[in-house]
Symmetry: C2
Subunit: 599 residues, 2 copies
């Protein structure tokens, strides 16, 4: 008897899976999974972003949703592959209202990980490729017709005045912009409000030496990838220009110089009432759906230190730091030792300042080249592209790794990084630097997911710390600020002309407290993090990033954000959840995530 091929194995599994689903047989489906198993669904089955962990969860999901979802037509996209005892298979499928794509991993004949994602809503397919619009109305009609420009101008004049957007996005950075592009393609009237003067300003306004920390293949926006000569690490002003252009050619409705002041839910009218100030004029907007796209971070976190008001020098949070040019020969103290701090310290040193970094707690250092090579290279690189890993595929492969076990995929990467960069790490520790690799050795991305901070992607500052060019005071904090100096917690004093608080940001829902109300912010709860029970990420285990791209505890209120990869990928799912609601497609949310923490 011939061996079963990976394709046969995968096909057999999908056939049994489909049959058991159609029978609504929870235990039957669960029996197809291994004891350690994960089914991550992005919208199709759950109208949520949800990871079922273990057979009981799988069985419950099926019992709750299978009859309604009516999943069928599971078809392999290509031959399945097998490596290390794991069979991998890409497939497509349909539900009653949508089409989907997924990735299956089998150990033997049992499912280990299953990813199901929604690619489009039936009847609401994006008008691309063969469905693209003609653009010209061929034929002739008496009475004249509006040109494209006139229609755009009319739309822009009406939206927010005589016609309300279905979705209002607060925040016009890459998150809001990418989401709005998805929504436009889905025909959802959408408006972005942004406080800065031009799209891209959130980048232009950053310190001079800033480049993206993630390489280009990771960073593409939806629908319009960067040209193939785009630099690997894009300078801030260049990404600013791209965002500005993108907002224009994607025909986004974008109000710049517009500050959102207050939003409240109007229960009678079942819509939001949002007061904004546009170019100094108050405007009331009434969207049905409200999305906050203000970035991974909340408000700048500035510790209150005794004596701060007496300081005679310049002090500001890292988010307000323009660059080091004015500080040659001066004494700069930077409180904090993560990404912003390192960038700012290096830039100050380059401009001839005397710089001291104050490190209160350990930092994970991930050298950029090693990170690109070891962590991202398989999915986001020239080589990956050459291997046929499109951005879309890379995103799905990334998404198919359950958060619960993601750290196990990363630990070997950072063990290799430790070996490869042993010299730098040894010299850093010799200089007194407090290094970590995440609490379980899982490194940068897990730290990012769990707490959004605590690392530095090294693009040169670590060498300066290791060799003493950037002075380091570690295991201390600032006790008191004096007119011309700071006193550290060990009693020593540092002269100081410039004090930069590279002290991070609060939880995203602090925006909500101000813009809506503390009650609503509390109800939504802490944003970001997984509940891993590590520093700044208390349990219980959530299984997905808190409140991101999925229904929150406050109806019609959504949070969008993440890095360029996450924004790009998850904008697809958030856009479809919004579109479904606009079209009146029922969206019963399976296990909406409760809020366990207020901030």
């Amino acid at each position: 008897m011939t061996d079963v091929t990976p394709t046969q194995r995968a096909q057999a599994w999908l056939t049994r899976f489909e049959a058991a689903l159609q029978a609504g047989d929870g235990p039957g489906v669960a029996a197809l999974f291994g004891e350690e198993c994960y089914w991550r669904d992005l919208v199709t089955f759950t109208w949520n972003l949800h990871t079922a962990e273990g057979r009981a969860d799988v069985s419950d999901l099926v019992a709750a949703r299978a009859a309604d979802v009516q999943a069928r037509r599971f078809v392999l996209e290509a031959d399945a592959t097998e490596a290390g005892g794991v069979t991998e298979a890409w497939f497509t499928f349909e539900t009653a209202v949508a089409r989907g794509r997924g990735l299956l991993r089998l150990k033997g004949d049992e499912a280990w990980t299953l990813l199901t994602t929604m690619t489009e809503l039936k009847g609401y397919e994006e008008k691309e490729g063969t469905r693209r619009i003609m653009g010209a109305e061929h034929g002739a009609q008496r009475g004249g017709r509006m040109s494209w420009l006139e229609r755009r101008q009319a739309e822009q004049a009406a939206l927010g005045t005589t016609e309300q957007p279905y979705v209002l996005i607060i925040g016009g950075g890459q998150g809001g912009i990418g989401l709005a592009a998805r929504l436009r393609r889905l025909g959802v009237p959408t408006l972005i409000v942004e406080k800065n003067d031009r799209p891209g300003d959130s980048w232009r306004n950053r310190y001079k030496s800033l480049n993206l920390h993630d390489p280009v293949w990771y960073d593409h926006l939806p629908y319009l990838p960067f040209p193939d000569d785009w630099p690997v690490f894009c300078p801030k002003d260049k990404i600013g220009d791209w965002l500005e252009m993108y907002a224009k050619v994607m025909e986004l409705n974008y109000w710049s110089r517009t500050v959102a002041e207050k939003a409240q839910w109007d229960e009678d009218r079942q819509e939001w009432e949002v007061r904004v100030v546009r170019d100094g004029q108050p405007v009331t907007l009434r969207p049905k759906q409200l999305v906050f796209a203000l970035g991974v971070s909340g408000y700048p976190s500035v510790p209150k230190i005794a004596g701060a008001e007496t300081f005679e020098g310049t002090q500001h949070h890292s988010s307000k730091h323009p660059g080091g040019a004015a500080w040659a020969g001066k004494k700069a103290v930077v409180l904090g030792a993560n990404n912003s701090s390192h960038d700012i310290c290096a830039d100050l040193w380059e401009h001839g300042a005397d710089v001291t970094m104050i490190q209160r707690s350990s930092t994970h250092i991930a050298p950029s080249a090693a990170l690109m090579d070891l962590a991202l290279g398989g999915l986001y690189s020239e080589q990956a592209v050459a291997n046929g890993i499109t951005t879309e595929k890379a995103d799905l492969i990334f998404a198919s790794v359950p958060y619960r076990i993601m750290h196990t995929f990363h630990i070997p990467v950072y063990e290799e990084m430790k070996r490869r960069e042993a010299d730098l790490y040894a010299r850093l520790e010799a200089a007194g630097f407090m290094l970590d690799f995440g609490e379980d050795g899982s490194g940068l991305f897990m730290k990012y997911l769990r707490r959004g901070s605590g690392y530095y992607i090294d693009v040169g500052a670590s060498e300066l710390v290791a060799n003493g060019s950037i002075k380091l005071r570690s295991r201390v904090g600032i006790e008191r600020i004096n007119p011309k100096s700071v006193t550290l917690t060990d009693g020593t004093e540092l002269e100081c002309d410039l004090l930069v608080y590279a002290t991070g940001y609060g939880s995203m829902n602090s925006w909500l407290a101000d813009l809506i109300s503390p009650e609503v912010a509390d109800k939504v709860g802490k944003c970001w993090g997984l509940g891993s029970n590590t520093t700044k990420d208390p349990g219980p285990w959530e299984g997905e990033l808190r409140n991101m791209w999925k229904p929150t505890q406050v109806p019609n209120l959504w949070i969008h954000g993440g890095n360029l990869h996450q924004s790009r990928h998850h904008s697809q799912y958030l856009a479809m959840q919004l579109k479904a609601r606009m079209e009146g497609i029922p969206t019963p949310v399976y296990r909406p995530a409760p809020s366990h923490h207020v901030r």
Copy 2:
């Protein structure tokens, strides 16, 4: 004995070809070609755009160039294919200084058509993909560094003032813009001067109802294709926005509101001296190479008609026509019956004007949908994309059809169009319209190549002519213009409030007469056309489009243009010819085309 496969046949031919080339054996190479044969070379062998026709031409090309070019490493890119007795094979090759790509067609074992094109210059490869720049200079350097923005600003401030561009492009439409993008990637300092206020204005300033006449797959600019939901026929303002964006994100050096006044060659300094007025300020530029990218057309052609100065209504050339909105209930007369006339007449009718089209000579009518389907569909369509015909491949396939026999490829297309659209054509003729299909039935594209005019891509106006909504007076011209009417050559009189001269454009080298001198314009000679000995395209046969994208009779003077496909494709070859000269690579031009006609 097994049959020879297409791949074996093509491989054998390439092997013999390479050997004969390396031996410099002109007759030996010629013997590999059929009696009817064409070798079209785009730069690699000839430093020209040149088609050798027949064995004698092939032999001469080899004798003149093979030793210098040192062509080798002819390698099939993929399996060859065979259909209808013709073997087709894609191949790559190298020369002493460049890499190339080509397409071979064999009949039996003899070459019928051979296309050789230059893809890159060795040592001057574009920095894309794996060669892309890092963008961030990792590491740190004392003294600070210029940010990307500062470098861009410094470059833009210096170019044209303290530093001269190597190439000056006069004309900032899609031609100049695409060429400049190529040149930037090749590291050639380039400046565009454009009289309008913003990139894209040459489109924005056209009449309101204008859309591109060619479908989107045909129209992509180099490096950054339109997104996949771009309309099939792009509205004028939308393409304007795209060009503006493209100029920005491709980091082009673009002076708008800049009028070129005079250019003269400085023989001592071996450079051009070009006087421009930028924002009202005179500036002298000194490029080594001067490119005119002012469009397929020269100056508006306005016939001088007796009595024109007595006319009390509005009269203007089609290029100045804003649209029909002001003419409801008024009497409009449009002189001319080609593309602009049809668009303008239809737009006037839609706005309620009483419109009469005056047709002096026959017009080729190609309904847009049929054209897309029959003429372009194989190469530029969703289906083509799905079949793996990339834009680059489509351009090369298009370029591989020798101009001499191109009409034979097109005649069947238009015979099918005649059948498909028989009803419309019959009704047009019944209305008195003078139809043609090109003098040899080869239709639209040949008319375009031969004379750049004489057709209408029908997007609805022909129906209005056929059903009499647009009144037609054919086989007449305007004899005399009166204060409130025009008198036709048959003696009849038409009341007239608006007179539009949809009467075309002169040869491109009329720009040269004004901007440089009549002597230089005469020396360059007529631009465009093939020498087909058809209307407006007198012989002798040229084999390539006169003066386009290749060396002219005036050193360092070049003409760029054509439709979006031609601009896109040929910008590659023009850019490499310019780069080679900048780098001092010898560029001995084989058979520089003499000028046979002055205008």
